[in-house]
Symmetry: C2
Amino acid sequence: MDKNTLPPKKKLVADWQTLTRTFIRPENDAAKSTLIKYMEQILFGLHDFLKKHVGFTEEVSLLDLSTRFTDTLISENPEKKLTDVITDLVEDIAPHAVNVASPYFVGHMTSAIPFFMVHLKSIVTALNQNVVKVETSKVVSVVEKQVLAKIHRLIYQESEAFYHEHIQNIRTALGCFTENGTFANLTALWVARNVLFAPKKGFDGVEKEGIQAAYRAYGIERCVVLISRRGHYSLNKAGGLLGIGNQNIVAIDVDENNRIDLDCLHKTIRKIKNGRTKTAILAIVGIAGTTETGSVDPLPKLAEICAENRIHFHVDAAWGGPTLMSEKYAHLLAGIELADSVSVDGHKQFYMPMTCGMVYFKDPTIMDAIIYHTHYVNRPGSVDLGIKSLSGSREANSLILDSALKIMGSRGYALLIDHGIETAQKFAEEIEKRSNFQLITPPELNILTYRLYPSHIKQEISEQSVGQKTRINEKLNEINRTIQRLQREAGKSFVSRTTLKTKNPPEQDIVVLRCVMMNPMTNIKILGEILDEQEEIYQRMLIQG
Amino acid sequence: MDKNTLPPKKKLVADWQTLTRTFIRPENDAAKSTLIKYMEQILFGLHDFLKKHVGFTEEVSLLDLSTRFTDTLISENPEKKLTDVITDLVEDIAPHAVNVASPYFVGHMTSAIPFFMVHLKSIVTALNQNVVKVETSKVVSVVEKQVLAKIHRLIYQESEAFYHEHIQNIRTALGCFTENGTFANLTALWVARNVLFAPKKGFDGVEKEGIQAAYRAYGIERCVVLISRRGHYSLNKAGGLLGIGNQNIVAIDVDENNRIDLDCLHKTIRKIKNGRTKTAILAIVGIAGTTETGSVDPLPKLAEICAENRIHFHVDAAWGGPTLMSEKYAHLLAGIELADSVSVDGHKQFYMPMTCGMVYFKDPTIMDAIIYHTHYVNRPGSVDLGIKSLSGSREANSLILDSALKIMGSRGYALLIDHGIETAQKFAEEIEKRSNFQLITPPELNILTYRLYPSHIKQEISEQSVGQKTRINEKLNEINRTIQRLQREAGKSFVSRTTLKTKNPPEQDIVVLRCVMMNPMTNIKILGEILDEQEEIYQRMLIQG
């Protein structure tokens, strides 16, 4: 039946009364219970779906989906009532979203969050404060400064007197909230750049005059950031954005533990110092939990090198930061307190909803390098947090972190962290026990990589020539790429894949499967099932040729 | 009684079972009803507060508040249960937040939002998708591309065929979501910079090689952005960040309507072209709704100038963009369709919760200038929206806008826009009727500025000398600063203040009161009361000397 010949549904019309009613919170019980009914529909409707599967299935492919979303006209009159929109989201959208909350979804740094996060976010939304200025946030600006001090203390462990001085000091800043790790890293390098090329006689500073003038004023031709090959791409992006060029984010080789190779770093520094092109080192970045392997760079050594050479030391702890709350594993991040700046993400191991990043600075006055004022807000001397911030308008995510810390306690977080690390250790053992797998990067935190490596191929390879080894590796890459895809498409579990380089010659790209153990419901039984499924997929591939 | 001698409250202890329960959505009815009870507490508890006052009162001053938030230790064990945290937020935090939803809160671009936004945000939070990659968002990436096309069409009105080609095209992009207008403007200038200094023979492009190399390759020494004095400070920040220097964001004078003065612009362009310093013009920015006065620059003229001189034309429509949905007032933004890029904010006149920005591009391939790939996500050829994005991890705000458009229809939004503009017009009339006030900038959209200007001073001033006029103006500035502060502290209503310059000589800074009419519940009666209160405050000031 043609759409046009269907019996006409009551047409919705935009009218002022209906519209303004949505701006008034309901007074009578009937209206209130309707609002609550919607919330039930959301909380428990989504619930039922979220139990079902991981969801990145090809049952309905992306291509199919994309053909369903092609209308580009905004309807003049309302298309749907709220209740129908919610039903659509619950019944039509959610089933084709990805169930990142599943314990079988271990492929990315996105996972289940405690359900109370939905409540906390609702409060933030209902209050709708804008933290860019105190006139639209008041107490929230004060709470935010407190949370910043709490996490600063977790990282830097400064004295009581230090925090007493700075916690609510409107002239200093211990850090700031950003929207994600990308912006936290960008803020750190932005500050470091402006400090390196600070105003001096005859030069008003890089922020005002730009890179060209800065290089001239400081007599250099190039400016670099040194970071291991495992560095997050946001640092390259920051290099591009900040005008120093992303080719100047120099990737240093890693050792066999995927940590920055200190010999290579030393060599690079020497080469830069002795090079013909006058080059400034803007920062050295240590990683506390690389995205691909979860490795932690030797932070105390990096701090030493930075101190000796007077280089800004940034630590990207977007992933690993919360490990500091674990009595058992905080030591893995030793040296982080020596960093000039540290990035941490809220939506990762603080289990906050998308998205929240933070950046912290050792020196509470260093953010003066990025001050902006205006006539109507962010005036000098005000409490406005927007004065020292990459962002403009910003939501009150700090309330969520503050509340979560109170509800969980650092020990609550530690239980999650410990579970992740210990589950990863057990998983590594399980992988090593199975003859058809090869553990590639053992977990240091809660991330590991491995690949399917059929035992019959393992037995053959020791006898092969280098050329044959290369061909076998390429075949393994193909197998693992396919297994990852087929498993994802089957929709029951999800691991991700990335490409690492072998350390032993011949240097080759190896495709690995990557697992992130952060969901507390993910256990060794589930991980065993994921391996079983991968072996089954491989067997089927063999049969089907 | 000393805190320590109080009967001991049952101490909370972090334990695994309690903790993991928060990750599982409740199965039984009792647990479900508890969750819903919390939501009721949030939705209706906040409600009661939000009715009370504007809230930026000095009853409890910021200084007092700041002394209450000074603890910097994260508690080891849980401090509070969820229910107590919610109670605290509702009873202790909310009363000291700012009631931006009050119809008496007309000082900033933050206002009431329809209550269904809280529901929509809850869905986004519960799904917790990360739109940086399709593996953690799937259908949401597709929906996002559709919403982008809808708003692109609202702005650019390209053909059906154009949208058919690009809406779900994974190689092209009509724009992207950002977290706010600051990032939208930054993205636009970032793209424009990279296009201006694109790779060419012997040069790999500014993104890779940096500003210094770019200037050398293109034979220039300086690069500027031209924008009126009313430009948003985010553009200065973008200049600083992108390495061109914020002093090179050149402020062009405005005419008597607070629009960019075209004569000045022409003169500046000629001066740049004939200047000794070889200078490239990176972009000219037109503003569609300035933050301070709501003025709209002459967009068609700016487009012409840009076309003639082959300069990137950016329009900052963070505020005014949604005016395009109004049949009555869309014409005010005529010429916006000629822009190379356009910024629009979701949390402003799309009435979305904090925060959402967007940037749109006329050329669907121009965002290729900011592509980033990695090994584990954002691979070439994938649907991953993170490939062309300032942001990394990003929440699925597009679902909120998509739903809101369906619930409201463009006519629903138009009713809000029209109401704002027409209320501003009525308010302007009211101000002009009152002898103790002076309208400074009549509303073009829904923003106006004025000041208290006692009639007895008005009568005197025509007879005064220039020196005396200046002194009187300074006195008026002081009066208006004080009135704004006292009214804010009284907590019933809130207008903001900013500083403009008089056009007529002698050029002086004048402090003005600024009102933004976006709350549909704000009407002329309320605005009259706000004026009454200001007159009363002035009378009291007179009496108290």
